[in-house]
């Protein structure tokens, strides 16, 4: 009897197979309900940043915007987010691989990635997989010109940055009572630098700028020595330096300016690097003077002091800057969309992001909303100057809190 029972239990019958298939079908059928159940928990947000490699300094600075976000989002009544970190290692291929890995690990929305080249690669992955990407920082215009349905950018494009920069430069020149007659244009030759250089060429004639560009000098952002570039720039005898750079090369350029004993009337930057915390820390008094024309915070918005206080609490001595502002705002967009969508379904999230209308934000401009291409076309730039180890706001006039210091104090007289 016992032996028979054992024999029966081991035998694979047609009825058992049918029952097994039925069970498998049931499990497969209820799988979507598992996903639906997950929608009740925090949204899984993959944040991709260059936290090591050439752009590590800026990537880590951006991450501070992630670190300070949870408390502020909670105070705004927004849902909790689970942040998953992805280090792009300042490399386009790694950025693509990390994006795929994060999605594979369950990320329901991506944020990143500071660099236009890396962001372009991530955008392709996000679009293929149908996962929304909210770009924190990346200015290359083509990213939102591809007809992507899952890519959104709360950051100005190259032409927007350049157009705003020209307007703000005119304000700064008027306030300073000095106008450079010539500038020498030094720019990196990566995706962002080339996009800005192209935009300068196309946009400048429309703005009737008071200066001419004596020479354009492109260089590799990974260059280890910029002495030739600075010698060439100095030889033009231009009044001011117009630059598009990153952090490492901004520091290299400054070192070379000091060594080659050339202090132009002004350094006018249209990119990152010159206002970064690490730039101040590394160069001390030599960091003072450059004027950056970049997307910035509006000191009059009510969320700005909240963000400043959170940053001061978590990172004493670190000033609020573009990196923190736009990384935080990307998380703000994600949390706001998740709240309105009420679901982690990527399509529902993308639809919710498309109808974003946040007016209680930090950056300059009326707020955060996206056009049909997924671009916030209302975000504005400011003009800031490094002064006494801090950034002061020179333009637009509505947000200014200081007059420009012009010309720069010669490097050799800074003690």
């Amino acid at each position: 009897m016992t032996r028979k029972a054992q024999s029966n239990s081991a035998r694979l019958t047609r009825r058992a197979v049918t029952a097994g298939l039925g069970a498998a079908g049931f499990v497969a059928g209820v799988a979507p309900f598992n996903i639906a159940r997950a929608a009740g928990g925090p949204l899984k947000v993959g944040v991709l940043l260059p936290r090591s490699g050439l752009q590590a300094g800026i990537g880590q600075d951006c991450w501070r915007g992630v670190d300070i976000a949870p408390g502020i989002l909670k105070s705004l009544g927004l849902p909790e987010l689970t942040v998953m970190s992805g280090d792009t290692e300042s490399n386009v291929d790694t950025a693509r691989a990390r994006a795929e890995k994060l999605i594979g690990e369950g990320a329901q929305l991506l944020i990143g990635a500071f660099d236009s080249g890396q962001t372009t690669a991530i955008a392709q992955v996000a679009e293929q997989k149908g996962i929304p990407l909210v770009i924190n920082i990346a200015g290359a215009p083509q990213i939102t010109e591809q007809g992507y349905k899952f890519v959104f950018r709360n950051f100005p494009t190259g032409p927007m940055i350049v157009g705003d920069a020209f307007n703000n430069q005119k304000e700064v020149f008027a306030a300073a009572g000095h106008t450079p007659k010539t500038v020498v244009f030094l720019h990196i030759n990566d995706t962002y630098g080339t996009a800005i250089a192209g935009a300068v060429e196309h946009v400048m004639p429309k703005f009737n700028m008071p200066y001419t560009i004596a020479e354009k000098i492109a260089y590799d952002p990974a260059a280890r020595d910029l002495s030739v570039e600075v010698t060439k720039a100095k030889a033009t005898n231009a009044d001011a330096l117009l630059v598009v750079s990153r952090l490492n090369d901004a520091m290299l350029l400054t070192r070379e300016l000091v060594k080659q004993r050339w202090t132009p009337q002004a350094i006018l930057s249209m990119g990152p690097g010159w206002y970064d915390d690490q730039y101040f820390k590394t160069l001390g008094k030599l960091a003072n003077g450059p004027i950056s024309f970049v997307p910035w915070y509006d000191p009059h918005k009510k969320l700005t002091p909240v963000l400043e206080a959170a940053l001061a609490k978590s990172f004493a001595g670190v000033q609020l800057n573009t990196n923190h502002i736009f990384t935080f705002e990307a998380l703000l967009v994600a949390a706001d969309a998740y709240k309105r969508a009420g679901s982690t379904d990527p399509k529902a999230l993308a639809d919710a992001i498309r109808t974003t209308n946040i007016t209680d934000n930090v950056s300059i401009g009326p707020g955060i909303s996206f056009n049909a291409k997924g671009q916030n076309d209302k975000v504005k730039d400011g003009a800031i100057q490094n002064r006494g180890g801090k950034d002061v706001m020179l333009a637009p006039q509505s947000a200014a809190n200081a007059k420009p210091e012009w010309p720069m104090t010669p490097y050799q007289n800074r003690g």
Binding site: A218, A223, D225, E229, K259
Partner: protein, 290 residues
């Protein structure tokens, strides 16, 4: 552009080229004697650079003070590498040697990545922002010190090979391997000494390079390639050729950046290599093979 602009750039290029030359000298010495092409050359230099960064930061000393100690450490490393590993491959086909050294290069790079991460590291010196001015000519102090140290180190190496008994024995072994064995020279030991000396050159060059560029683990392959360009241009196996090649490449990169576009500097260095390979395949000071 005024003449002084060209002179400023040319001087900077020559000084950087001297450090390049010392690095390539190590490669040339090793190939000239041991007849092994060191495909881990640039990676060995990054090891020296990180040693310099770590020791300078920990001990608060100038990289130039550490020049000889780091060269000594790399000498021991090179000696042990030759005795323990490369010697086994001396009689094996060239592709085996190639694979061994490429594998070594990959191991070094990844070990550095594991220990230090991919970020750039720099050495702060008291003269980091200094320059010397002679009328319109401005010379970067760090480059001047690095260039001078490279000349001194290379001169010491020339003296060693020319006037010491061991140096003469190494040259004898390089000229006639069988003859050296017949007269009772310990050729294996001489090979190890030579590899150690080549590694010491790289150690010295790497230490000086920290004055000019930030150290990152991924620098190795580009410097290996640069060393090959220099050595082939100067003449494979020729010590003065390596220095001349280094200066020529440094000068070419600098002037190309000034006269054309800085982002295409490296292109001109490779153009020089192509010209040399076309019109003087043995290199500027190399001997034509029979």
């Amino acid at each position: 552009m005024p003449l002084e602009v060209y002179l400023n750039v040319a001087i900077g290029g020559v000084l950087t080229g001297l450090v390049y030359g010392l690095m390539a000298l190590g490669l040339s010495v090793i190939f000239g004697v041991v007849r092994v092409v060191n495909f881990a050359h640039g990676e060995m230099m990054t090891v020296a650079m990180f040693l310099a960064v770590v020791l300078c930061t920990a001990l608060h000393v100038d990289p130039l003070v550490l020049l000889v100690p780091i060269a000594a450490v790399l000498f021991v490393f090179g000696y042990a590498l030759q005795r323990g590993l490369i010697n086994v491959f001396i009689t094996r086909p060239e592709h085996s040697q190639f694979l061994l050294l490429v594998a070594l290069a990959i191991i070094i790079t990844n070990t550095l990545l594991i220990i230090f991460g991919p970020d750039a590291r720099t050495v702060e010196t008291a003269y980091g922002f200094d320059s010397f001015q002679f009328g319109g000519i401005i010379v970067d102090a760090a480059k001047a010190y690095a260039g001078a140290a490279a000349i001194l180190f290379a001169a010491a190496l020339f003296v060693f090979f020319r006037f010491t008994l061991i140096g003469k024995a190494i040259r004898a072994g390089a000229d006639n391997h069988t003859g050296a064995l017949v007269v009772g020279l310990d050729v294996k030991r001489l090979y190890a000494l030579t590899f150690g000396l080549g590694a010491a050159c790289v150690g010295a060059a790497g230490t000086m390079m920290t004055l000019l560029v930030d150290a990152t683990p991924l620098l190795g392959p580009s410097y290996t390639l640069l060393a090959f360009v220099i050595v082939i241009t100067g003449g494979l196996g020729s010590m003065p050729g390596a220095l001349i090649g280094g200066v020529l490449i440094g000068l070419t990169e600098a002037l190309a950046g000034l006269l054309f576009t800085p982002s295409a500097k490296s292109m001109f260095a490779f153009a020089i290599l192509v010209l040399v390979l076309l019109f003087r395949p043995q290199g500027i000071l190399g001997k034509r093979l029979a």
